[in-house]
């Protein structure tokens, strides 16, 4: 699908505030509601707008620890990546698993209630994952910026 300047403007406005109604959006974009609505429908049908995400404060729910693990795998084993990912997926506290090209092979985000809880996940689940050569941990201190916005 070809995207024109008006589509881009709508996407930028949506990125600024995803909770606004179609009529608010249309007013800001300087168009009437019906064509604005049609454009949004098209962008959704084309899969450009995937959906909405709710930003939840997990610390208010008792999850105060977020640890980023950076993992190097034993690549001499042919299926190391697949087997590792398959097992890691089953750990509910592992929110994100990504494969990377660079110094490390895998990164994972682990969210826990506190350090005791984290320690338990680490010892009983993470350290038992297969084919790990090296593991580095970064612990979140504060989030300065966290946005899904693209520089459109």
């Amino acid at each position: 699908m070809q995207i024109d300047a008006t589509d881009r403007r709508l996407l930028r406005l949506l990125q600024d505030d995803a909770s606004q109604s179609v009529s608010e959006l249309a007013a800001k974009a300087g168009m009437s509601t019906a064509p604005c609505w049609r454009r949004l429908e098209k962008l959704e049908a084309a899969g450009i707008i995937i959906g909405r995400k709710v930003d939840i404060d997990y610390s208010a729910l008792g999850f105060t620890v977020l640890v980023f693990l950076r993992i190097t795998l034993d690549k001499t084993h042919a299926n190391a990546m697949d087997e590792f990912v398959r097992e890691a997926r089953n750990i509910p506290e592992v929110e994100t698993i990504q494969t990377l090209l660079g110094r490390v092979d895998i990164r994972m985000d682990v969210r826990a209630r506190d350090l005791t809880h984290y320690q338990e996940i680490y010892r009983t689940r993470i350290l038992r994952l297969p084919h790990m050569l090296d593991l580095e941990a970064l612990m979140l201190v504060s989030e300065v910026k966290n946005t899904e916005s693209l520089p459109l």
């Binding site: 930003d55 939840i56 494969t99 990377l100 660079g102 300065v144 946005t147």
Partner: protein, 152 residues
């Protein structure tokens, strides 16, 4: 901090799955009336447990083919103010994520770019020129294997 009961948790779980649901749809999913659901969502928003909603766009359909995670070490600790670094890095539109971390790096960044050449331009002109920046490690995202939220 507000008290969060099982019904609030059910609402948040429904919204974790699909952030685009309105109060009526959330209510239907968890068996609660629309007004009651609406009041609870409102309360969670006012208490900042729900911090906001963002739109999820398909970055590659919009021409952003490259995502790079950077680990940044500050060069002259103590001399450079963290605030200066944080303000400057957060202002770069291609930087979606800035996290102050404990570990081998001081900051974790996520950068979106159109292609590797575009990433190199951002790295050279924007990142490497930040006040106080020292060692930078880049890991290019190959694939997202799991994107979930911790069970609440």
């Amino acid at each position: 901090m507000i008290d969060i009961d099982d019904t609030d948790r059910a609402i948040l779980r429904a919204l974790q799955k699909d952030g685009g649901l309105n109060a009526k749809e959330v209510g239907e999913a968890i068996g609660l009336s629309q007004p009651a659901t609406w009041r609870r969502i409102k309360r969670l928003e006012e208490a900042k447990v729900i911090r906001g909603r963002s739109v999820l766009l398909d970055r590659s359909k919009l021409g952003f083919e490259v995502v790079v995670y950077l680990g940044v070490k500050l060069a002259t600790r103590g001399r450079v103010s963290l605030e200066d670094f944080e303000r400057a890095v957060a202002a770069i539109p291609e930087v979606q994520l800035v996290q102050h971390v404990l570990g081998v790096y001081d900051y974790r960044l996520k950068v979106v770019a159109r292609d590797l050449a575009d990433f190199e331009r951002i790295l050279r002109r924007r990142i490497m020129t930040l006040p106080g920046v020292g060692d930078v490690e880049s890991n290019v995202l190959l694939s997202d294997e799991k994107l979930t939220s911790v069970p609440i």
